[in-house]
């Protein structure tokens, strides 16, 4: 298989020094890299499910990154993807039984999406782009950061969808009894729309920041020019 087999999109550029914060915000798997869309859209119709899914994925990502980093020097290049998938599938099997043991209602709500964590692009992408090259501690931190970044994104989406679609947050009423729930947000189209809104919001924030940096750089260069002229 070619390197392109690993992720659905181009892999993220080389990570700067702090692997934990990098995953949480700068390279957020959902809002920046747009990876792992299936659980992001399917499991976010309530905040509770979103958090559970986020934590399950974090567990798998941290564990698989740690193990893959440990065995990275033993695995021949040709069979690495098959090996990674086997490691990930094992971690997912553990999570599958763990969630079942902790809470049956959550297990039922997440349904087929727990086994489907195997097919989540983020996990294989991080294995290939980071854990296969970096030492164990850094890879584990990267997995933890990426996982929590994923959980954060899921919670953001879940909040919008639950508050607008059911008028509740974590099951507690937000708007009082007179609120007419906007059911569309609980249905599939609501998932697409709320993710589009979040992406637009973050794009706006990023563009403003880029403009400000640009203006600051311009001002800086102007002052240096003036200084040069005066000199």
């Amino acid at each position: 298989m070619s390197d392109n087999a690993v992720s659905c999109h181009t892999p993220a550029p080389a990570a700067p020094d702090n692997p934990f914060l990098n995953g949480l915000w700068k390279q957020n798997p959902v809002f920046v890299q747009v990876l792992g869309m299936c659980p992001t859209l399917a499991i976010t119709n309530s905040v509770r499910n979103a958090i559970a899914m986020g934590l399950a994925t974090t567990f798998v990502l941290t564990g698989s990154n740690c193990v893959i980093s440990m065995i990275r020097k033993m695995v021949p290049k040709q069979v690495r993807i098959a090996t990674f998938i086997a490691v990930i599938a094992t971690m997912v099997t553990v999570v599958d039984y763990l969630v079942k043991a902790i809470s049956i209602p959550v297990y039922k709500a997440l349904g087929a999406y727990i086994p489907l964590i195997v097919a989540n692009c983020i996990i294989l992408e991080r294995a290939e782009a980071y854990a296969a090259r970096k030492p164990v501690v850094k890879s584990t931190l990267d997995g933890l950061g990426m996982g929590l970044g994923f959980a954060f994104a899921l919670t953001c989406l879940g909040t919008v969808r639950e508050v607008l679609g059911a008028g509740t947050f974590l099951g507690f009423s937000v708007f009082g009894p007179n609120f007419e729930p906007w059911v569309l947000f609980l249905l599939p189209p609501g998932g697409f729309i709320s993710l589009a809104i979040w992406l637009l919001t973050f794009a706006t924030v990023r563009e403003r920041k880029a403009k400000r940096t640009l203006a600051a750089a311009k001002a800086q260069s102007e002052t240096t020019e003036q200084v040069a002229v005066h000199a």
């Binding site: 992001t40 998938i85 094992t90 997912v92 599958d96 189209p189 589009a196 637009l200």
Partner: protein, 192 residues
């Protein structure tokens, strides 16, 4: 629940469309829908992989159940899928090198497509027999193919429209998908 073959077919193809209603195979749905020509080729290859791996997984499920090692199912399914993808790759390479070059990069991607893994999982959960499993696999993958082709056709039309620079790319695609998804909700209640 009505388990007749026709019902399973319509349900998986339209009412619970894998992409637009159950959110499976999202990555390739958003990533590979830029051009109709790649979209339908990808759709057809996925249909082939899902149908073959769906039938094989049905056999594997029975074998695992007979041996009482159901906890191995995730690993076994993913191995079946990876081998089917490899097989498809070799098959297309032999029969049509031109198509192989066209698909090249996208073929191995099918392994990480969650729609492929979901089919055997859903078959288990619903307890389908061999014929039902086959019909379900064909209909579900057909639904994926249909959604991918529809979105790519719409996206080809948006290239010339005046979209704010902020919304270009994923955000616009998501809004289009939302509209498509609302359309597919109109099928709810059909066949019941």
């Amino acid at each position: 629940m009505n388990d007749s073959l026709g019902h399973i077919f319509i349900d998986a193809l339209l009412i619970n469309n894998f992409v637009l209603c159950v959110f499976l195979g999202m990555c390739s749905f958003l990533g590979l829908s830029q051009k109709f020509s790649t979209a339908w080729r990808m759709g057809v290859s996925v249909m082939f992989v899902i149908t073959v791996s769906g039938v094989l997984s049905y056999g594997a499920h029975n074998l695992l159940a007979a041996l009482h090692v159901e906890y191995l199912r995730i690993i076994v399914y993913i191995i079946i899928i990876a081998s089917t993808v490899q097989l498809t790759e070799m098959f297309i390479k032999k029969t049509s090198p031109a198509l192989f070059r066209e698909l090249g990069v996208y073929l191995p991607l099918i392994t990480t497509n969650c729609a492929v893994l979901a089919v055997p999982l859903f078959q288990d959960a619903r307890g389908y027999n061999l014929v039902q499993s086959t019909v379900f696999a064909i209909a579900a993958s057909g639904g994926y193919c249909l959604a991918l082709m529809l979105l790519s056709l719409i996206r080809e039309r948006t290239y010339l429209s005046d979209v704010p620079s902020l919304a270009r790319g994923t955000a616009l695609t998501l809004v289009l998908a939302a509209i498509l998804s609302m359309t597919f909700m109109g099928f709810a209640g059909m066949g019941s």
